[in-house]
Amino acid sequence: MYRYDEFDQTFVAQRVAQFRDQVARRLVGELTEDEFRPLRLMNGLYLQLHAYMLRVAVPYGTLSSRQMRKLAHIARRYDKGYGHFTTRQNIQYNWPALKDVPDILMELAEVEMHALQTSGNCIRNVTADQYSGAAADEIEDPRICAEVIRQWSSLHPEFSFLPRKFKVAVTGAPHDRAAVAVHDIGIRIVRGDDGEVGYAVLAGGGQGRTPMIGKTVRAFLPKPYLLSYLEAILRVYNEFGRRDNMFKARIKILVHEVGIDEFRRRVEEEWEHIRGTAVEVPEEEVRRIASYFAPPTFARLPAVSEGFERQQRTDAQFALWARASLHPHKQPGYAIVNISLKPIGGVPGDATAEQMDIIADLAERYAFDEVRVTHEQNLTLPHVRQDDLYALWQELDAAGLATANINTVTDIIACPGLDYCNLANARAIPIAQKISERFGDIEQAHDIGELKIKISGCINACGHHHVGHIGILGVDKKGVEFYQLTLGGDATETAALGELVGPAFGYDDVVDAVEKLVRIYLGLRQENERFLDTYRRVGLQPFKEKLYAAH
């Protein structure tokens, strides 16, 4: 993975010193909260319902064991002993004291981390496929591209006061695990007609109150032009994005209002002026960055581990976990291991300091020292020998980290909701917990199959409800929490927005309604159909009729 050199190290150290000065000015009253706000927001520090919240960047979701241990240490020393992994592959601490934040940032800098651009109207932390460098279907490791963008966007002097926040995601594989179609810019690494590797560039995707699927600005961008093309898009957005209404300020509204053809024309016209200029990253610098993402030294192994096969036959619990948690690795004899942060009845994405330490140890011993954060709020060990899976599983299980529910009905994304967030209209976490308990029988969950439930506590859609197979949106109706259900959303390469199924349900009824939807699906499904497949085949109507039918 990427390692800081002296330039990177100096940069984050200077950033910490700058913020320490800003906090000091705030604490003595030299800065009002109004003046301090934009400054803290550029360092990932929010003021929430009860306390400050610090969002730490995990660039493209990649962590070393050393970094994970530091995150555990921060949780223990400065917070309440846990952290919350987010849908943007970051980690949030919900209870830091303002006076401690410069020290936290200093500790992060020691392990080459920061909280830069995890908030504010700037280019946010760049996300990528959590299986980068490991997935069998990958064309190229997207973290190289993401690191180039991370550096280019860091304190970009022209694009730090955009109309609104700006999120970029990169996938290096045809199967999109990074939800690039619902980002301000989505980048797909693709092969051109002659086999040359380049980028398909999407813009104008997003969720929030006006969800949109990103549109293709350029189907094939040769690699050397990555940064000039991004700079052209950002410049067009900075000049023409709406600033009169914060709810219409995202790039998706600009793309929608002028139309993708006119948007593309402006971008390409701007690009003609700057392509090939000093903005482009030199080939040698790309090679330097790429060298950090060279694959680890894998052992030469048979494609299938006999021990692993045998252990699955003799231990049904292990087999169940393996079925849910593993993903094919490009290297024979290895597997990608997902670690569920969705224990039955737990808070999606939370991990205790002890769990973080254990995962750091396991990554060191079994996975070439790497951990990934997924946008679905789980963790991944990208490179594990199949021979080691049984031992790994036993240790995960002992730490409460072996819930065999990845991609199932209880692998729920939820935003913090009304329990933490001052924007929320309704609770999200307790709904996730109740659904999780309702479907707590793991074997039953496996029978239901792949089903992505995503819950947001308000229309800002941080819980990605628009792209949930079942989406749940909390709304406020005269001071009472209600929940709208949408069906058929999809965040992958077949991205789609969910459709509203009908009138909202109250807090006490929404879990029953979800269960009913699942039962309707089970009654309708044909062999091997996922919930989403059945929905696409039969449409909204059968679900709607049966959901609202009188008993």
């Binding site: 330039f7 304190l155 022209e158 900075n238 000049e239």
Partner: protein
Amino acid sequence: MPLIRNGRLADDPWTALADDAELPPTGAVIVSLARFRTEREVLFNRGAPLGIRLKSSELASEIGADAPRLDLIAIDFPVFRDGRGYSTARLLRERWGFAGELRAVGNVLRDQLLFMDRCGFDAFEVESPDAVAAWEKALAEFSVFYQPATDARVPARLQRLQRRAAS
């Protein structure tokens, strides 16, 4: 309001002219883009320095090829969050060949000065009693930069290459 030019407190010899004010026979004036459009020839032929003040919604291309003939362009930041002026500044400098004084006016705060400097501004109306100290501090906070802009600072990636070539 204190004016900083090239890092020092400076006198301001410019007169900001309202759209309905009479054009004085001599002296440096700053006019709106609207007035510039209607009185372009008169203003250029006056034989005195000419400046234009752009609203944040007015684009660099609206001055366009006239930029090299101007002595000053002031760009307004009605609120610090409105960042259009950064693009305007870069385009005036890098695309339209503007070499005169590029002045940031409006809600110009100390924590933005480095960004502005990097985008080609060389003069700032700063709402700060110790403007020069704030300026010096803001510009000294970073020594590493990750991307090229209008300024001459060498991005980290080029420093890396230079260092490697030298070793």
